[in-house]
């Protein structure tokens, strides 16, 4: 028999106090004290999600303007306010205190002579122009990836994130299917790596969290179907694909199949 103190500690350690595992839910139905703690934890999370904060819109717009301006993205190194009053870099102040003025003059003369020497060795010659940063058309998968990143930031539950990763994996598969005939080995290989990462460290991790949070395993059904389709399609495509794309498509098929099997196992175990 677990004590109320232990139950309350477990409640406070949950990712979301509202989504309690079965064994805690059973206890909560008959315990007013633990139910009150759960209510307070839910209320606390609600307040924390709504803490007031000022707007930073002006600073953001200024920064966006700087980022979008011509020239390198990083133009100046930001200087944070110093906690030492004068704002002067500490090693400089140390040198000023310890090095005599005459030594400074000798040093300056030495630097001047050295600079002239360096200039002479590197005097103006024809130099290649600095290449412009890439400015190609926006890629559809990039736009979707940004959308999914934003979606992940805004999501509150493992189920929401699971759905996002599932859609993301499907989009990467579609991209691979669209380009496998013309893509270089490196390009298609990157897509395969992206798919593997999205499924293995995205989708599967969220699935585990969903189970931790007592989700219904039936929620995996849609994803299992999609993964099975991906595995079959990618395997079929790899048979007739150009040699450069075959290995990558097989990797996608294997990754989808592995995730499908793992999800099925989790769902069956939980269902049983």
């Amino acid at each position: 028999m677990i004590s109320c103190a232990a139950i309350q500690n477990r409640l406070l350690a949950l990712a979301e106090p509202m989504a309690v595992p079965q064994e805690l839910a059973v206890h909560l139905t008959g315990c007013a004290a633990c139910t009150a703690v759960q209510a307070r934890a839910i209320k606390l999370d609600f307040y924390l999600a709504n803490l007031p904060a000022p707007s930073s819109e002006a600073r953001k717009l200024q920064f966006l303007e700087d980022v979008s301006a011509e020239g390198p993205v990083i133009r100046t190194k930001p200087v944070l306010p110093s906690s030492h009053g004068s704002g002067q870099f500490r090693p400089v102040r140390f040198l000023q205190r310890t090095v005599p003025p005459k030594a400074w003059a000798s040093l300056a003369a030495g630097v001047l002579v050295f600079s002239v020497g360096v200039w002479w060795l590197n005097r103006p010659v024809e130099r290649p122009a600095v290449p412009e940063l890439a400015q190609g058309p926006r890629h559809e998968l990039l736009a979707k990836s940004v959308k999914y990143h934003v979606g992940l930031s805004n999501s509150r539950t493992a189920t929401q994130r699971f759905d996002i990763f599932s859609d993301w994996a499907a989009d990467v598969t579609n991209e691979a299917r669209d380009v496998y005939k013309v893509a270089s080995r490196e390009q298609i290989s990157k897509l395969a790596a992206m798919y593997e990462s999205t499924v293995a460290t995205g989708l599967m991790d969220q699935a585990k969290l969903m189970i931790e949070d007592a989700a219904n395993p039936a929620q995996f059904a849609g994803a299992i179907t999609k993964l099975a389709e991906t595995a079959t399609q990618a395997q079929e495509l790899s048979q007739a694909a150009p040699p450069d794309a075959q290995a990558a498509l097989k990797r996608i098929a294997a990754s989808a199949d592995k995730a499908r099997t793992a999800l099925r196992t989790i769902a069956d175990k939980k269902g049983a």
């Binding site: 307040y47 007031p52 493992a158």
Partner: protein, 170 residues
Amino acid sequence: MIQAQAGDRAAAALLVEAYWDRLFRWLFQLTRDRHRAEDLTQETFLKALAAIQSFRVGSNFRAWLFRIAHNNFVNTKRSDKRRAMPLLDEVPPADIAPGPTTLAEDRETLERITQAIAELPREFRTALLLRCEEGMNFRDMAEVLQITEETARWRVFKARQKLVKVLEPE
């Protein structure tokens, strides 16, 4: 992401647009100083954009970005004494939907919670806000804070344990 890594400013701007507010909000709750939070947010993006080549496409960009922000925050904190917390009046009222409690009660509770958060050890505050304000899972929190998932869970637990007391009936 691929285009941002290739140096496309428009793609970089999209990332800034998508994450600025969330990052600023978290840093503001940690520092309780708007200007400092803005400086830290800007510096985080500068560092992230400068190092964007090292970001692995397909992994979690938010966790990567918040990790840079956290390192920045910890580094500046080391050379900075604790700053005074502004009164709640200096920040706008929270956007809380009207519930059974009155607005005055909400405000008073928020004030007490804000005060209690400020009194939490920094590690607990950082973890709790990532969980409750950002909705981050323990795995991502572990990545941001460079700790284990268990430690992340434990920090959230300890922070909640202290803060629920604020909501206990008097």
